[in-house]
């Protein structure tokens, strides 16, 4: 990796090479790789890279203008001529090297490990090559490349993890994915069999790897019971005070209004006694236009007073439980009372109506309870009379609730999809509500007949009677989106209903047990996806440590498996075993050569370091070779190439690693 960047503060341009590019955020942003796939494409960066290598090796300091040493350069199999031309130009003209040897890295490695005849499987960073070697000479014209290497594997791993944990709090870096892949992935010896059973609890317990990402723990301050009690007490106290105050204010207001009402009523009564002119003047004095206006305000006042009384009934529930209050002043006519006691009388009148309203509410509640009890009794009777029939009705009810729940979730999902019918209907409703003109002519004509309209008389022509029908208001419910409390409440209610029915079934149906309940079915123990994302133990949503955990299970074998089944990752190429079979059985014509090659399959490159890679290759190559052949195991199996130290003789024999 090479990164060139300019530090604005220091007024300097820095060039950073190697792992150091990740040290500084500035350089990290500019980091580039001179390679495109497995060939060098950017020779400017290559030059910087070589500068770095030669300086670190300490060559060229003897003077004499140039590096002064011969260079061994590795290159890709069948590298295009352009690249070799550019590379030799760079080495000879820029660095003045006396001589250069080009060769294929994996063949150096094979030679170093005393390989003579065999098949070299080299899994590199960006590509995997299979090269047959005969008597120390690589048969490059028979070699095959698979465009998959360690880099693609790490990327695959990263994408799998990102998709597995969409809302993961930490950002997973590609180097982290690479490290995870190197540490935890292994090649399954029988992928089909192993993957099918991977998420079974007993196997998963052993194979699941939990990766903990850093997290900051927020400590919740635990309040003692005493403190909680005190807080509750305080809250209750202040609530009570507020209620008292509000009741007092309400009462005062009520009394004032009653007085006003009484005055207006006397005013109305004067209509009969007074002459018309006097009455009219009287009205004008009190800001009334005519009798109708007076009547209207009386009516309205009456209404508000009645409403206020009703409210007080709710607030003073406790008082109702005490003994019925007496209202002695009510029976005494007004004439016999003083002004003060008149006031008292009005108050008592008010209290009396309150008391009566409370009694009515209580009676209604009692009736409701009675009705419930009757229903239950009826239900029990039905159950005893005909158990199977009762059970079938209960089961039907359960199924109905389940479909209701399902419908709700589906509707919610459809609303999240912009193109679905449900969301289109919603958009239509919104558009209708927002537009000034009535939605359609049809509705305008038909909507006039709704009775009991509370709309004012003024705009009778424009009024479309919206709101007269209670269902009209549900349009607002239909257009609200997302998880508002209303919907949650409804969900809760449905869940409660389901629970009640299931409890009944558990009690009375011998064939219905715990495992059949919805609760048991949605339990995490039975969930495949839970095993996949959260392993064998219960997942606690509130635990921050668990929120920052990654469980690696199927990925452990899924990622390296791509070398054997590239189709899994969308690569339309044959896997390494199929390529090996093709080379050995189709392309190598000579029976004897084939026999010798089969004895040595040599693995090299970073990606074959997956545990079990050699095992798998041995097993599968044995499957494709003709009966009677003997596969050599052991000695030739090296899982790490050491091409950096490969000797020069090899290349002297072959001049160029690639066929040219």
């Amino acid at each position: 990796m090479v990164s060139k960047y300019r530090d604005r503060k220091a007024q300097k341009t820095y060039t950073v090479v190697g792992n150091d590019v990740f040290a500084d955020p500035n350089s990290r942003g500019q980091a580039k790789n001179p390679f495109d796939s497995n060939v060098v494409s950017n020779f400017d960066q290559m030059e910087t890279l070589l500068d770095y290598c030669f300086i670190n090796l300490g060559v060229g300091e003897e003077g004499g203008g140039g590096v002064g040493h011969s260079v061994v350069m590795t290159e890709a199999v069948c590298i295009p001529g352009y690249n070799r031309k550019m590379m030799s130009e760079l080495l000879f003209e820029c660095y003045n090297t006396p001589s250069v040897i080009f060769g294929i890295d994996s063949l150096f490695s094979y030679d170093y490990n005393d390989g003579k005849t065999g098949l070299v499987l080299s899994a590199g960073h960006t590509a995997t090559h299979l090269i047959p070697v005969l008597d120390g000479k690589g048969l490059v014209n028979l070699s095959t490349r698979l465009n998959w290497g360690g880099y693609q594997s790490a990327d695959y791993m990263l994408k799998l993890i990102q998709l597995k944990y969409p809302g993961f709090p930490a950002k997973i870096q590609s180097w982290q994915a690479e490290a995870l892949m190197k540490d935890h992935c292994y090649v399954s010896s029988d992928y089909k069999e192993e993957v099918a059973n991977y998420l079974k609890p007993e196997i998963l317990l052993e194979k699941d790897r939990i990766i903990q990402f850093p997290f900051t723990e927020t400590i919740k301050v635990e309040k003692s019971q005493e403190e909680l009690d005190r807080i509750a007490e305080r809250r209750k106290e202040s609530g009570r005070k507020l209620q008292e105050q509000a009741a007092k204010v309400r009462l005062e207001k009520l009394i004032k209004k009653e007085q006003e009402l009484a005055f207006l009523k006397t005013l109305q009564a004067r209509q009969e006694t007074d002459s018309k002119r006097d009455f009219k003047r009287l009205l004008e004095q009190n800001d009334f236009r005519d009798e109708a206006a007076l009547e209207k305000s009386i009516r309205e006042l009456d209404k508000t007073i009645r409403r206020a009384r009703k409210q007080d009934v709710g607030a003073e529930e406790d008082a109702a439980n005490s003994s019925p209050p007496s209202f002695p002043l009510l029976d005494i006519p007004d004439e016999e009372l003083s002004d003060d006691s008149k006031k008292m009388k009005r108050h008592q009148k008010l209290m009396k109506s309150n008391h009566e309203a409370r009694l009515r509410a209580k009676a209604e509640k009692e009736a409701e309870r009675q009705r419930q009890e009757d229903l239950e009794r009826e239900d029990a009777a039905k159950r005893e009379a005909d158990l199977p029939a009762w059970l079938s009705t209960r089961h039907a009810a359960r199924a109905a609730v389940l479909t209701k729940i399902k419908d709700r979730t589906r509707l919610r999902n459809e609303l999240s999809d912009r193109k679905s019918l449900a969301s289109q209907m919603r958009m239509k409703s919104i558009a209708n509500l927002a537009s000034d003109s009535p939605p359609s002519k049809k509705r305008r004509r038909g909507g006039g007949g709704a009775p009991g309209s509370s709309g004012g008389g003024g705009g009778a022509i424009d009024d479309d009677n919206f709101g007269a029908n209670d269902d009209d208001w549900s349009v607002y419910r239909n257009i609200t989106l997302g998880t508002n409390s209303d919907e949650d409440e409804e969900d809760n209610e449905l869940a409660k209903e389901l629970k009640a029915i299931e409890d009944q079934l558990l009690l009375h149906d011998p064939h219905f047990d715990r495992n059949d309940t919805q609760e048991a079915k949605s339990d995490w123990r039975a969930s495949l996806l839970h095993a996949f994302t959260h392993g064998v133990r219960e997942h606690d949503l509130d635990d921050q440590a668990q929120g920052c955990q990654i469980h690696l299970n199927v990925e452990r074998i899924r990622v390296p498996e791509v070398f054997f089944q590239p189709g899994m990752a969308g690569l339309d190429q044959a896997g390494v075993i199929e390529i090996a079979g093709d080379i050995l059985l189709q392309r190598v014509a000579d029976e004897q050569v084939r026999e010798r090659m089969l004895r040595d399959v040599f693995l090299t490159g970073g990606a074959v370091a997956f545990e079990g890679f050699d095992e798998r290759v041995r097993k599968e190559v044995r499957g494709i070779i003709p009966a009677g052949s003997v596969l050599r195991g052991g000695g030739g199996w090296v899982t790490r190439g050491m091409w950096e130290e490969a000797g020069g003789e090899y290349i002297l024999e072959h001049r160029l690693g690639n066929a040219f």
Binding site: S41, N42, M86, L146, V195, N413, L529, V554, E578, A659
Partner: protein, 122 residues
């Protein structure tokens, strides 16, 4: 390691001048190579072997093995029996199917991309 140009101990060779354009993508390099090869067959450069192997033609061919067309669940990686007709995702069981239904928008495409089965409109 930070390199400043002046500390390089060797002098570039006297003839060394960086070529004008030194960066070519692999795609450009390959298309240039095929062009020159096609021109070469016209007469000047003889073919070097019975079968000319190039960077492009050593690529492995598509798999012919029937076992490799096996289907795996896009979400879990388990063997998949079913395909969701809407998203075209493969899935292992009904629980995964329910999860597919709940996927946030765009997620299904990313799963498909992982398998190289996504449709890219250009």
């Amino acid at each position: 390691m930070i390199l400043v140009a002046q500390t390089i101990p060797w002098n570039p060779g006297p003839n060394w001048k960086p070529p004008h354009r030194r960066t070519k993508t692999l795609k450009q390099i390959l298309s240039d190579a095929t062009r020159t090869a096609a021109a070469g067959e016209g007469g000047t450069v003889p073919a070097t072997g019975p079968m000319q192997t190039t960077y492009a033609n050593i690529e492995s061919a598509p798999s012919l093995h029937p076992a490799h067309s096996k289907k795996w669940c896009d979400i879990t990686g388990l063997p998949a029996k079913y395909t969701d007709p809407k998203t075209k995702l493969r899935y292992a069981d009904k629980e995964v199917y329910a999860a597919i239904r709940m996927l946030p928008p765009g997620s299904a495409e990313r799963y498909l991309e992982l398998r190289g089965a996504n449709v890219v409109l250009k």
